[in-house]
């Protein structure tokens, strides 16, 4: 990471900012493909922001750029005022495909502890963090199992626990619940909201599920079809704590989800 003087004054609570991100794959080749068409937004400290968009709109490309795994063709990402050129230490990413992200040769507790082992944390502190994170996601008692002995939902909990134990200021989540069943998904959503509120994290949550995006977030960013741009930034003014049944029955929730759905549908038409 290099330090660069920010071009404009940064609001004190601003944590992550994307400025005019463009990304094009295979430049100059016949299969050239523009995934990001100028994306700008910012996330403040402690916010829960979700990003929703039609499938194939470059959500994963965006996440890879934001996390520093990939350099965008143009535009910058800055984290705490510093330009991101590799993964910032204060940020981590939870991948959609948990089965390819957990290390199959490590037991649950060792997977969660893995990122901490390279740090200078004392052993007792590491073990405390692991125990706490596993308790947060409701996996106490599964420490010595191997990932493949767990169900998909539990594996994704392990991946989330690993990210929590790492204690980043910013948690990026790339469609983390896309491949679990509906009931598991709801319980994972509530688990995440609970941890977010108690541990005071900042979360940027990508999903293609409109209900999920509205239910979880303070703000919903709607992306257009690729090359994607932010076509709406909606504030979700629904009080917390939220409830899977009560919240989703409120008129405000229904209005907001309809608005997001309309935006996505229109975006799809415009691109077609």
């Amino acid at each position: 990471m290099t330090t660069e003087a920010p071009a404009e004054p940064v609001p004190p609570d601003l944590l992550l900012r994307a400025s005019d991100l463009h990304h094009t794959y295979a430049i100059g080749l016949p299969e050239e493909h523009e995934a990001l068409g100028g994306i700008s937004f910012s996330v403040e400290q402690g916010e829960f922001v979700s990003i929703v968009g039609p499938s194939g709109c470059g959500k994963s490309t965006l996440m890879r750029c934001l996390s520093g795994l990939m350099t965008p063709t143009s535009g910058t990402v800055s984290m705490e005022g510093e330009t991101v050129t590799s993964v910032p230490p204060d940020l981590t990413l939870v991948f959609q495909d948990y089965s390819r992200s957990l290390y199959p040769w490590l037991r649950v507790a060792d997977n969660v502890e893995f990122p901490l082992k390279g740090s200078r944390l004392p052993k007792t502190e590491r073990h405390e963090r692991v125990a706490q994170a596993l308790a947060d996601v409701g996996l106490t008692g599964h420490e010595t199992k191997y990932p493949r002995q767990l169900s998909g939902g539990m594996q994704q909990r392990v991946a989330i626990a690993r990210a929590l134990a790492y204690q980043p200021a910013m948690l990026l989540m790339d469609e983390p619940y896309a491949s679990v069943d509906a009931q598991t998904r709801e319980s994972l959503e509530d688990m995440l909201l609970d941890v977010w509120a108690r541990r005071k994290k900042t979360v940027l949550f990508v999903t293609h599920d409109i209900d999920e995006s509205v239910y979880l977030a303070d703000r919903v960013l709607v992306l257009s079809k690729g090359p994607s741009q932010v076509i709406a930034d909606l504030t979700v003014d629904i009080p917390r704590p939220r409830d899977q049944i009560e919240t989703k029955a409120t008129s405000r929730f229904v209005e907001l989800r309809a608005e997001v759905a309309r935006l996505i549908r229109d975006a799809g038409r415009a691109g077609a």
């Binding site: 795994l69 993964v87 990413l93 991948f95 390819r100 290390y103 893995f114 990122p115 390279g118």
Partner: protein
């Protein structure tokens, strides 16, 4: 699921097959009454006397020299080929440069190099160790390359988003992820190592298991010749068994 009974009958059949082979051996050799084909009881009596009752001497004159060559050759080649395999597996370009060379080396039957090694390295242990290492190298190398190339890139992305450095990525991501393939290479190589160990001891040697067999033959001690062959078979089985034990321990996560 194999039940206990099924397993017991399985074992029964194996024991019966072995007994049948020994019976045939005994029947054929007793009838033939040939100097070259001793009966099994003579052979096993020789194994008992020379290899078990007299274990101290056979250890220092035959087992230890052979094991030393085998383990040094195997170990050196394993360390080198795993290290080079990781480098090639991680760098497409490096792989493209050196792969033709590797495939050419692999195509040379290692025993063909023996006369050359004798000229270059003399007739001491070094020549035998190098011969074993040369034969053992390609299978481990090629398996390591394949294992490293087939690692899911997301495992590296995961390491990166958790600030895992390059060295730890090698020791804690690449090695365990490629371990199943590496062990496949090690198992192939172990058999090759035993073969080359014997071959190297059939030429310009003064000790070792291969030398013992050659010497028995030269002295027309055909019972000892057969005893040596059987001992070599047992050595091969024990070495493979040990490797399998290590493999099961290291790859415990796959079956747990």
């Amino acid at each position: 699921m194999t039940t206990l009974r099924a397993r017991a009958s399985d074992l029964g059949i194996r024991v019966a097959a072995l007994a049948l082979l020994l019976a045939f051996w005994w029947w054929a050799t007793a009838r033939a009454d040939s100097l070259f084909f001793p009966t099994p009881d003579e052979v096993f009596a020789a194994i008992w006397d020379d290899w078990i009752l007299n274990f101290g001497d056979s250890w220092s004159e035959n087992f230890w020299p052979s094991l030393k060559r085998l383990l040094l050759g195997f170990g050196l080649a394993a360390v080198l080929s795993i290290a080079i395999g990781i480098a090639i597996g991680r760098s497409r370009r490096f792989g493209e440069y050196v792969e033709p060379i590797i495939h050419f080396i692999r195509a040379i039957p290692p025993p063909a190099l023996l006369p050359l090694f004798i000229i270059l390295l003399g007739i001491d242990d070094m020549q035998k160790i190098v011969l074993i290492a040369t034969g053992v190298f390609p299978p481990i190398l090629l398996n390591t390359i394949e294992g490293v190339r087939s690692i899911d890139p997301q495992l590296f992305d995961t390491a990166k988003v958790f600030q895992v450095g390059r060295v730890r990525q090698v020791t804690h991501v690449i090695l365990p992820a490629a371990a199943p393939k590496i062990f496949a290479g090690l198992r192939i190589s172990m058999s090759i190592a035993v073969i080359l160990m014997v071959i190297s001891e059939l030429f310009a040697a003064t000790d070792g298991l291969g030398f013992r067999i050659l010497q028995s033959s030269r002295r027309f001690q055909y019972v000892d010749l057969w005893a040596g062959i059987i001992v070599l078979g047992v050595v091969g089985i024990v070495l493979n068994g040990l490797l399998t034990l290590v493999e099961r321990r290291v790859l415990k996560w796959r079956v747990a």
